[in-house]
Amino acid sequence: MSEVMNTPTGKIPPERLKAFLAVLQTRTSIDLNETFLDRLHRYVTLQLRGDVYQQHDPELAAWLDQDPGLAEAYALLYDLEAAVLAGNLSNPDHVPDPDLSFLTASPSLAERLAERVTRTGRELVLRFSEDLLALLRPGPQLAAGFRQADSGRYGILLYTLDGQSLGDPLPLTFNAYADREQPDFCLIEIEVALPDRSWPDLAGVVVELAQGDRLLQSETDAWGLAVFENVPIALLPETRIVLPLN
């Protein structure tokens, strides 16, 4: 049974009135891109944790009142995460079979590298892509240690390519390690193996790493190792490595 609201006589604080009028005046339609959805997920997480979520993100709180479609998207996420927390996720009577053909349909590493490596007389260029990176994830049995002393910081291997072990060898080994202190960044090690040079004459080879407009250079040490720090992980699919061949 609904109740008729008794009209309180108290004055409404001006800041609340202002907020009410502002939300009435603004008709919003938010583009629910991935970045915005991450923000919505955070809002829901804070809410379910009992935090003062509307104060953490007052802008989003206002948008939720201004855009009914956004409010419905929020409600879907809230209801889902609340169910997960409560252990009440749907348990459908029937679950169809998945299509797992993608597990075996991927091109081989050699095929993918053939598309992404170019060689001239002077240099080798390796261009990464999402597809190639997907093939460079290490298997669980691979060692995760980092060569230098600070193995705690760079203990997780993200991607690895042993160019020397390929049927059509590449003169490099590539490893990317997650940076525990900066989760969005990685450290890249490139070990160069030029045919006409060996230890200790592997030093001084200038390896270039390009990501969009950003160009980094690093010289190899006596073991032929070039190191690049603070490399954004999100830009790895756009990364290009240039290695001089003489």
Partner: protein, 221 residues
């Protein structure tokens, strides 16, 4: 050297829907096809449950859940290295599939902003955006009792009115409003229901001529 969470022999049989995420994560990268397949089948069932939970009220909910879960499964496979914490595999993949469902529903116009029709040819829907905000001194002098009394006559249900005014006039959070509505109706009302109700009714108020006229008179005073 990381220790494998799966014993070498009989890895496949060790994997169940209750296996820890780290174990499933490791199996997803296994060189043994049967182990990898078992891992992705576990993820599939989880992703389908999540998608189904979100789409069950849609007319084609099962098909939509299957479509979104399948797309999400491929995406999980492609982007597995972006899951920085193997222990968070399920929550990470849940985010992927829930984002897909929301995107799909938006594209299908199932999560549309409310479109307010004009009241009549003589009273086109009001557009507030060009009017600009009321000056602070006008807000200070606004007769809030008159405003509340006017809103009592607005085209909102009693619950909608309580939800809108409870938030903006009384500063109450949705958890409190939801609890109150639950007690009043003796049915569970979630904070998410409160939010959707408020957004839809603010959209109605936005085009309510009497409110527009009331605030217009305040601005002219």
């Amino acid at each position: 050297m990381p220790v494998s969470l799966l014993a070498n022999a009989d890895m496949e049989s060790q994997l169940t829907d209750q296996s820890p995420s780290e174990q499933v994560y490791e199996a997803c990268q296994s060189d043994r096809p049967e182990v990898q397949t078992a891992a992705f089948e576990i993820l599939w069932r989880y992703l389908y449950r999540v998608a189904s939970h979100m789409t069950h009220s849609q007319p084609d909910g099962d098909a939509l859940a299957q479509d979104c879960a399948q797309t999400a499964l491929v995406r999980v496979h492609e982007k597995l290295a972006e899951c920085r914490e193997p222990a968070a595999l399920r929550s990470w993949s849940r985010r992927i599939v829930s984002n897909l469902v929301i995107d799909r529903l938006r594209r299908r116009q199932r999560l549309q902003p409310l479109v307010i029709e004009a009241q009549s040819d003589d009273q086109p829907a009001r557009q507030w955006a060009d009017d600009g905000p009321l000056p602070d001194e006008m807000i200070e002098q606004l007769d809030t009792l008159a405003l509340r009394q006017l809103l009592d006559k607005s085209p909102m249900s009693d619950r909608s009115r309580r939800v809108v005014l409870g938030r903006y006039f009384d500063g109450e959070v949705d958890e409190v409003l939801a609890q109150r509505e639950t007690e009043l109706s003796e049915k569970t009302v979630k904070p998410s229901h409160i939010q959707v109700t408020r957004a839809k009714n603010i959209a109605k108020l936005r085009d309510w001529p009497l409110l527009y006229d009331f605030l217009g008179k305040v601005n002219e005073a």
